[in-house]
Amino acid sequence: MPTVRYESNSYELKDSESVLDALLRNEVQVAHACKAGSCGSCLLRAVQGEVPTQAQAGLKDSWKARGYFLACMCRPEGNLTATVVESDARIKATITALDHLTHDVLRVRLACDAPFEFRPGQYVTLFRDNGLARSYSIASLPEEGEIELHVRRISSGRMSGWLYEEARAGAHVHLQGPSGECFYVPGREDQPMLLIGTGTGLAPLYGIVRDALRSGHRGPIYLFHGAVRPAGLYLNNELKAMAAAHANFTYTPSVLEGDKPGTFEIGPIDRIVTDRFPKLGGWRCFVCGDPAMVLLSKKKLFLAGIAMRDIHATRSCRRPREAAARHVLIELSATKLTRRLRFACADLSRRTPRRDDLHAADEQRVRNFQASPGARGADAE
């Protein structure tokens, strides 16, 4: 069995175990979050040995050249000596403002100590001094000078709990990144654009839509933001003002529960979008938020004619225990009515779902989905 050498100790890797799992099993402190190769929290540097290609997927070329790799995705065939990453992989940042946008969405503004290049809509990984790491999408534009993140409060979430309860302006954190392919690329200015987000999935879209408008995008831009209840429709006034100021920008808020027709649409967001736009050939689309919503929407949009290369998505990061908004109608298969699988997911932050709520096959699908590498992305607790 190969061994990994880290901080002058050697650890043997068990069968098909990742470097991260081996270190954690031996109670070595290593920052980590998604364990699925997307958040970048467990970045280490190899100083000796072969790093498998998979462990460097998505990393910057300059990082690859220096032997950086993701410990959670690293299953080496031979021995490997690893070390903590140099400080240039992470930059220091200071919290400048914490604003409550709703009862459970906090806007966090950060000033970086060093220049930090990003595209609005990409995500960063935020590190606390104790090594705790979580990823969040960037809602701000580079010229705004500060990084803006939208953090949903998750019950017993350690990062969101700290940001809500303890953190104050002036507190220091570290940022790593940015990562992700979910951003506006200038060009094809007349192409119609569709942006769909639920909850804090609005954060990347808020950055992307403003990036597109300031880049001179001329085609129509439709932003759909869904929340469980009207109170969750944050940045509502800002988005209405943007729609009033830009003739080609339309903002459509929607909720799952509500009875005030006219001010917002009511129903599952994927259905609202596809009812409005049944044919979408030639469009460009961005989908961010609840993983099940993202999966379903991607399928529906693709079947409505959008090319796969024009569908950009970021799934919110959720632990299985914390999964799924209340009463969200999840149709895991968008393909045929007869194959639609629907069930109401309980909001697990409020109550534990009864096992018999879920058909066994659906449960398996959800488990498979949650275990899939792409199931965890940005916007963690």
């Binding site: 693709f302 079947l303 090319a307 796969m308 298969s333 194959r339 989905f369 590498p373 792409g374 199931a375």
Partner: protein, 128 residues
Amino acid sequence: MHIMSATTVTLFEQLGGKDAVEAAVDNFYRRVLTDDRVSSFFDDVDMDRQRAKQKAFLAMAFGGPNNYSGKDMRTAHARLVTKGLNDSHVDAIIELLGATLRDMGVAEGLIQQVAAIAESTRNDVLNR
């Protein structure tokens, strides 16, 4: 395997090479996702990964360079065979492949050649 036409131009080149694969993949993927006979086998939650697999399959069926071996075909489909993958599903895929190519305006003779390559993988796919 490359099936050569009467001239020295390969089938892959006649179809339009890599660009043809790229042009066909979304069309083909939409068909398999919406065809009741086979859609359950393509219900992968990771659509990007699924699309990449379809591309590899199309490149192979178009007579292009590919890294598939019979053994890979067997391994890749073994799990699906236990879930009931059989001849009728292979028939459906070959039919959808033909429909995609007809949609793109490909000549019937070339479609038959593509179908023949897809057909040649049948026993490996079904692990026979």
